[in-house]
C-alpha cells in the first residue's frame, strides 16, 4: 500500500469524528512513523480545509514528524521529577552515545532521539521510552545496554 493509499484510508475512516484533524494526524504517524508531505493535501481535501491549515497544525506540535524516523525511537523524559534525579546527565549521555541532538537521528541511523515531557513514572525517575516501551530508574549503563540490544 502506498503512503497516499494509507492516508486516504485513514482519512476516510476518521473524517467524521468531531475535531478529526488531530486524531487523523496521530493515526498517520502511528501507521507510517511520520506524516509524509503527500498526506497534507489528502487530509485537507478529506476535511475540506486548506493545505495551510493542516500544515499549521502539523508543524505546531513537536510530536508530529515530517521526516521518516529511524528504526528505533528513544524518548527521554525531560520533566521535573526526572531532571531532579539525573535526567540531565542521562540526556547528555544519550546524545553523546548516539551522536545526535534531540529531534535528530543517531550517526548510524538506527535511533531517533526525542525529548518527552513526563511518562507518568515520576516515582521511579528517571524514565525513558524505547519503541513505545517504558523503562524506569534508568542510568547510563542501563541505557547503553538497551541501546546495544536495540542495534
Amino acid at each position: 500500500m502506498t503512503h497516499e493509499e494509507t492516508v486516504t484510508m485513514i482519512v476516510e475512516e476518521m473524517r467524521s469524528l468531531p475535531g478529526a484533524m488531530l486524531p487523523i494526524l496521530h493515526a498517520i504517524q502511528d501507521r507510517l512513523g511520520y506524516v509524509p508531505k503527500e498526506a497534507v493535501p489528502i487530509v485537507a481535501k478529506g476535511l475540506n480545509v486548506s493545505r495551510a491549515e493542516v500544515h499549521g497544525v502539523l508543524t505546531y506540535y513537536h510530536h508530529f514528524r515530517q521526516d521518516p524516523p529511524a528504526l528505533h525511537m528513544l524518548h527521554i523524559c525531560r520533566a521535573e521529577s526526572c531532571q531532579a534525579v539525573g535526567g540531565d546527565a542521562l540526556a547528555e549521555h544519550a546524545k553523546n552515545a548516539l551522536g545526535c541532538d534531540f529531534h535528530g537521528i543517531s550517526g548510524d541511523g538506527s535511533f531517533s532521539l526525542e525529548p518527552v515531557y513526563c511518562l507518568g513514572l515520576c516515582a521511579s525517575s528517571p524514565a525513558i521510552m524505547l519503541d513505545g516501551e517504558v523503562h524506569a530508574r534508568m542510568d547510563s549503563e542501563k541505557l547503553d545496554s538497551l541501546l546495544e540490544e536495540g542495534k
Binding site: N48, S50, A52, H55, T59, Y60
Partner: protein, 946 residues
C-alpha cells in the same frame, strides 16, 4: 492623513446599548462593542498591533491592555466588551511600563531600518513605538533573530519580507475571515512561528488568490505592494469605483500627483466593505501600458496603414462619412454600440446621439450578449429589469442557490461575502455543469450539486417547480396576496404535469431525480432562500425562459420582497446594469420604456428637440446581418470588442469587412479596430468623471484621478461627434448629463452628483417615493403590481450533439483574467493565466488519446480552433469548457449564431463540438495571427507612456 481611522475591532449592531466611562469621558455604544472601539469612538486611541477593524479581535499583541476599576490585572481592550457602568483607564504608569516592555520585545527582533523601509510613514509598528515612548531595547540584537530571513518576491504585485514580520496574525485572519481562502497559516510555534503560505511555500505556489486582503491587513512592511516599494508613499487619495466586474467595489486611488501608486479597497464602500480581488486591487497597469493608443487615426480601408490626425479631423471625417452613408443607403444604415465598461453618462450620450443625431434607434449594447434575458425576463414577471437585493442581503439568507454562475472567479468580492454566510451555516445548492470551486472549497460545501447537462436549465427549473407544487411546498399566502391568480393557476397546472417531474426531466438534465427533489424541498422550506445566477442562465436559446422560471420559483415560495431572499443576477461588467438602464437598447429609452410609447417618446422629443422613431432599431446581430445584405454600412462602437466577444467570429468579421465606416473608440487597438476606418482613443476609468451602476443597482461615482491621456474623456468625444453631425450637445461636466437623465427617468429622478457625494452611493429607484434609494425591491408590492407567473415550457436547444459533434462546449471566465482580456492581458495577471485551456473529462480525453498539455482541435459547424488540453474531473463526461480571454484562442470561431428566442442573447454556453488531438494552432489561428501582425504594423508605434 490619507489613511482612514481604524477603530481596531468591527462595529457591532445591537438593540441594547451600554454607557461606560473611559478616562473620565462617558460614552454610549452598542452592546458587544469592545473597550478598544468604544475608546476610539470617544476620541482616545489605545495602542494596538494585532487589532484592525476588518477582523474579529484576537488579543495576541498585548499592547492594548487597560485598567478597569474594580478588576484585577490588565485586560486586553480588544477582546473585552464594554459593560454598563465600567470605568476604564487607558493610561497609567503601570500600563506605560508594560507596553514599553512588550514593544522592546518586538523591536529586539525587528530591523532598525525605518528610514529606508518601504512602510516608512505607513507603519503601525513605528507609530506604536512612538506612542509607547520606546527609548531603548535592553535585549540587544545579538541573540537568535529573524533578521536574515529571505524575502518571497514570487507574487508579481506584492512582496513578503519575513524579517519584518511581528506574527500578529492579521494576514492569516484576513485570508480566513475576509477572503475565505485560508491560504495562510502560522507554521511552528513560539519563537519559530512564521507566516506560511500553504505548506511553507512561496505565495505563488500556495492556495493564495492574490486578493490583497493580507497586504491591506499587514501593520508593517512585511507584506507590501511592489508599487509602493518602487514609488514611495502616496500623498493623496481619491475615492472611485472599480471598472472590472459588476460587484462595483469602491476603491481609494492612492496617488502621487497624477501618478497612481496603489488601489486600496475603500472601507466605507457599501458593495465591498474594504475587500477587493486581484483585478481591482492590482491589475490596473493596463492604464499606462505602452499599447495605449493616444492619437485619433483615420484610413480609407482596413488594408491601408493608419494616419494620425487631430481630434477635429477625425471627428469631422467620421461625421461626414456617416452623413454620406445615410444619404446613399438611407437614414437607418448606421448605428451605434454602447459599452458596459463606460459610464452611465457616456452610454446615455451614445444612445442619445444615435436617436437624436443619427435619427434612428439602431443602438445596442454588449448586454445583448450577456444579460439581455435578465432585463426581459424580470420585467415580464416582476416588473423591473434588475436584481432585487443588495449584496449584504446574502448575510440573512438560510439557503443560497447558485445557478450558472461562478462567483469565486467572476464576482470574487461578492463570493467572499457569500462564503462568509455559508461558513456561518447557510445551505448551498449549486446548479452547474462543472464542479466549480464553490461546490467544494475549504469550509464551504454544497449540500446539492445539480450537475446538469448544458442547455437543460429550464428542464431543471421546471422539475424543481414540479416538486414545490406537487408536494405543496409553495407559499400559498404570499401567492394569494402578491401574484396574479389566473397566471399562477395556469403555471401550477403546467408544472404539475408529470412531464415536468424530476424523474421525467432527468432524461434531459442528467441530474438524479432524488437530488432535485431534495434541493427543491430545501429551497422551498429552508428559511430565507436566495437565487444567484449568471451567464450560465442567460446565454442560451431559452435564456429568457430560464430567467422567468427563476422568478417563478422565487414568487411561488414567497422568497422575494425582503432581505435574505430574492432573484439576483450577478451582472458581468462594471456598468452592464447601468448601460441597460440608460436606454442602450434599440427598443427602449432610458428607464426601460418602449420607443413605441407615445407619451414617453414625446417627453424625449420635447427635451431633445427632435422627432424620434417609434419603431425599434437593429440589435447587434441584426446589424451584422444587415451589413452582409448591404443595408447597414456605418457603426460607432464605443469600448466594446465585438470582433472578439461576439459569437461566430467569421460571420462578424465578414459583416465588419462590408461596412464603409466603422468608428472604434477604445483605449487599445482591439480586434474590432482592425476592421475600423476611424479610431478615437478612449480614456480609462482613471481618466474621467461619471458613474457606474453595479449588480445591486448601486450608482457609484467614478472620479478622475489623472488627465485623459489622449486629451478627451469618452463623453467629450461623443459630444464632439454629435456636434459635428449637426446635433448640438453642450455639457460642461458629466453631472449635467446625470441631471438630464434624472429629469427624464422616473427611477432616477432623485439622483444627483450632490446626493451621491453626500450618501456615497445610491441604489435606484431613487425618487420622491424613495429619496434615499431602494436597497430591496418589490417589498409589499411588485413593481408591476401583482407578480406574474409565466409558463416556461422546456424546449431542447437546436444545438444537438450528433455523431459528428458528440461533445458540448461551454465557456466561462477565470479569476485572473477579465472578459476579452484587453486589460488584464496587459497586466502581470498573465502570471496566473497565460492562455485559454480546454478543460476535458478524463474519459473523453482518454477516448481521444489526449493528455494534459496536448494541443486539441475543437471543431463545430461554425469553425475550428486549437487549444491546449487540461484533463480534469471538474468536467462531466460529454462536456468540454474553455475561457475566452485571448483573441488568438478563437473560441468564438467555434460558437454559433444560435440565440435566445426573446432577446438574441447568443448561446455561448452550448455548442456541439468534436475534439481531436492535433499538433498546433488551427488554420484560422494562423491566418488571424498574420492579420493581427499586419494590422499592428499599420498603427504607428508609440513611445512608452512611462
Amino acid at each position: 492623513m490619507i489613511r482612514d481611522t481604524d477603530f481596531g475591532t468591527p462595529a457591532k449592531i445591537s438593540d441594547r446599548s451600554v454607557t461606560l466611562e473611559i478616562d473620565g469621558n462617558r460614552i454610549t455604544v452598542p452592546e458587544g462593542t469592545s473597550i478598544m472601539r468604544a475608546a476610539g469612538l470617544a476620541g482616545t486611541g489605545i495602542p494596538k498591533l494585532c487589532a484592525t477593524e476588518s477582523l474579529e479581535s484576537f488579543g495576541s499583541c498585548r499592547l492594548c491592555l487597560v485598567e478597569v476599576e474594580g478588576r484585577r490585572g490588565y485586560p486586553a481592550s480588544c477582546t473585552t466588551p464594554a459593560e454598563e457602568g465600567m470605568k476604564v483607564k487607558t493610561q497609567s504608569d503601570n500600563l506605560a511600563r508594560i507596553r514599553r516592555g512588550v514593544m522592546e520585545l518586538y523591536i529586539s527582533d525587528h530591523p532598525l531600518d525605518c528610514l529606508t523601509c518601504s512602510a516608512n510613514g505607513d507603519c503601525e509598528l513605528q507609530d506604536m513605538a512612538g506612542q509607547v515612548g520606546l527609548r531603548e531595547v535592553r535585549y540587544g540584537y545579538e541573540g537568535a533573530n529573524h533578521l536574515g530571513d529571505e524575502k518571497d518576491e514570487s507574487n508579481p504585485y506584492f512582496s513578503y519580507d519575513p524579517s519584518k514580520c511581528i506574527v500578529c496574525n492579521r494576514c492569516v485572519r484576513a485570508c480566513e475571515e475576509v477572503q475565505g481562502t485560508f491560504a495562510l497559516t502560522i507554521s511552528k510555534r513560539g519563537f519559530d512561528s512564521r507566516v506560511s503560505p500553504g505548506e511553507d511555500q512561496s505565495f505563488m505556489d500556495s492556495e493564495c488568490v492574490s486578493c490583497g486582503a493580507c497586504v491591506e491587513a499587514c501593520p508593517t512592511a512585511t507584506l507590501s505592494e511592489k508599487s509602493v516599494i518602487g514609488m514611495g508613499q502616496p500623498e493623496h487619495a481619491v475615492v472611485t469605483t472599480c471598472a472590472y466586474c459588476g460587484v462595483g467595489c469602491s476603491f481609494r486611488a492612492e496617488m502621487k500627483g497624477s501618478e497612481l501608486v496603489r488601489m486600496v479597497p475603500h472601507k466605507e464602500g457599501l458593495a465591498n466593505h474594504g475587500h477587493s480581488c486581484v483585478k481591482g486591487r492590482f491589475a490596473w497597469g493596463y492604464a499606462t501600458h505602452k499599447d495605449r493608443m493616444l492619437s485619433p487615426m483615420i484610413r480609407k480601408k482596413n488594408t491601408d496603414p493608419w494616419v494620425e490626425v487631430s481630434w477635429e479631423t477625425a471627428i469631422n471625417h467620421a461625421a461626414s462619412e456617416f452623413r454620406r452613408i445615410q444619404q446613399k443607403y438611407g437614414k437607418n444604415s448606421i448605428g451605434g454600440i454602447t459599452s458596459s465598461r463606460c459610464t452611465n453618462e457616456e452610454t446615455y450620450l451614445v444612445q442619445k446621439m444615435v436617436r437624436a443625431a443619427f435619427g434612428n434607434n439602431n443602438v445596442d449594447t454588449c448586454a445583448r450578449v450577456c444579460h439581455s434575458p435578465t432585463g426581459y425576463g424580470l420585467k415580464q414577471t416582476l416588473g423591473e429589469s434588475a436584481g432585487t437585493q443588495t449584496f449584504d442581503s446574502v448575510l440573512k439568507s438560510d439557503v443560497i442557490m447558485v445557478i450558472g454562475a461562478n462567483p469565486t472567479d467572476g464576482h470574487p468580492v461578492f463570493a467572499s461575502l457569500m462564503k462568509k454566510r455559508l461558513r456561518a451555516g447557510a445551505k448551498l445548492i449549486v446548479a452547474d455543469p462543472r464542479t466549480i470551486d464553490l461546490v467544494k472549497s475549504p469550509h464551504v460545501e454544497a449540500v446539492h450539486h445539480l450537475k446538469l447537462r448544458p442547455g437543460t436549465n429550464v428542464a431543471l427549473a421546471n422539475s424543481l417547480a414540479h416538486v414545490i407544487v406537487v408536494e405543496n411546498l409553495f407559499d400559498e399566502a404570499f401567492v394569494a396576496a402578491r401574484c396574479e391568480k389566473k397566471a399562477f393557476d395556469e403555471w401550477r397546472q403546467f408544472v404539475s404535469n408529470p412531464e415536468n417531474s424530476p424523474e421525467e426531466m432527468e432524461k434531459a438534465t442528467g441530474v438524479p431525480a432524488m437530488e432535485v427533489r431534495r434541493a427543491a424541498r430545501l429551497y422551498a422550506k429552508g428559511g430565507n432562500a436566495a437565487i444567484y445566477y449568471g451567464l450560465g442562465v442567460t446565454e442560451h436559446e431559452q435564456g429568457s425562459t430560464m430567467v422567468m422560471a427563476i422568478a417563478n420559483l422565487a414568487m411561488a415560495t414567497g422568497n422575494i420582497g425582503r432581505e435574505g431572499v430574492g432573484v439576483n443576477p450577478l451582472r458581468g461588467q462594471n456598468n452592464v446594469q447601468g448601460s441597460c438602464d440608460m436606454g442602450s437598447f434599440p427598443h427602449e429609452f432610458p428607464g426601460y420604456r418602449h420607443v413605441s410609447d407615445d407619451s414617453v417618446r414625446h417627453l424625449f422629443e420635447k427635451e431633445w428637440g427632435v422627432s424620434l422613431q417609434n419603431e425599434p432599431g437593429l440589435r447587434i446581430p441584426n446589424m451584422f446581418d444587415a451589413a452582409l445584405d448591404g443595408s447597414f454600412m456605418g457603426l460607432y462602437c464605443q469600448g466594446e470588442d465585438i470582433a472578439q466577444s461576439d459569437p461566430n467570429v467569421k460571420h462578424v468579421s465578414a459583416a465588419l469587412s462590408k461596412m464603409e465606416c466603422i468608428v472604434v473608440q477604445d483605449i487599445f487597438l482591439n480586434e474590432t479596430a482592425k476592421y475600423a476606418h476611424v479610431f478615437l482613443p478612449g480614456s480609462s476609468f482613471l481618466e474621467k468623471n461619471g458613474t457606474f451602476t453595479n449588480a445591486e443597482r448601486r450608482i457609484s461615482r467614478v472620479r478622475k484621478v489623472m488627465p485623459a491621456k489622449a486629451g478627451l474623456e469618452d463623453w467629450e468625444a461623443t459630444m464632439a461627434l454629435s456636434n459635428a453631425l449637426g446635433y448640438p450637445m453642450n455639457y460642461g461636466h458629466p453631472s449635467e448629463i446625470m441631471d438630464e437623465i434624472a429629469s427624464l427617468t422616473p427611477t432616477f429622478s432623485g439622483v444627483s452628483y450632490e446626493k451621491l457625494e453626500r450618501l456615497g452611493s445610491i441604489q435606484w429607484p431613487c425618487n420622491d417615493h424613495a429619496p434615499m434609494g431602494t436597497p430591496v425591491m418589490h417589498v409589499g408590492e411588485f413593481v408591476r403590481g401583482r407578480g406574474r407567473f409565466i409558463i416556461t415550457r422546456y424546449v431542447p436547444t437546436e444545438e444537438k450533439v450528433t455523431r459528428r459533434y458528440p461533445l458540448i462546449l461551454t465557456t466561462g471566465r477565470i479569476l485572473s483574467q477579465y472578459n476579452v482580456g484587453a486589460q488584464t492581458r496587459r497586466t502581470e495577471n498573465v502570471a496566473w493565466h497565460q492562455e485559454d485551456l480546454l478543460e476535458i473529462h478524463p474519459v473523453d480525453a482518454e477516448d481521444r488519446g489526449i493528455v494534459d498539455g496536448d494541443w486539441a482541435l475543437v471543431s463545430s459547424r461554425a469553425g475550428e480552433t486549437s487549444l491546449r488540453a487540461k484533463v480534469t474531473e471538474r468536467m462531466q463526461p460529454g462536456v468540454v469548457y474553455t475561457t475566452f480571454h485571448f483573441p488568438d484562442s478563437g473560441v468564438n470561431v467555434v460558437t454559433t449564431e444560435n440565440s435566445d428566442w426573446a432577446t438574441n442573447c447568443p448561446e455561448y454556453k452550448v455548442t456541439a463540438v468534436e475534439v481531436k488531438k492535433t499538433h498546433g494552432p488551427s488554420e484560422w489561428q494562423k491566418k488571424h495571427k498574420r492579420f493581427s501582425h499586419e494590422q499592428e504594423a499599420f498603427a504607428i508605434t508609440k513611445e512608452s507612456l512611462a
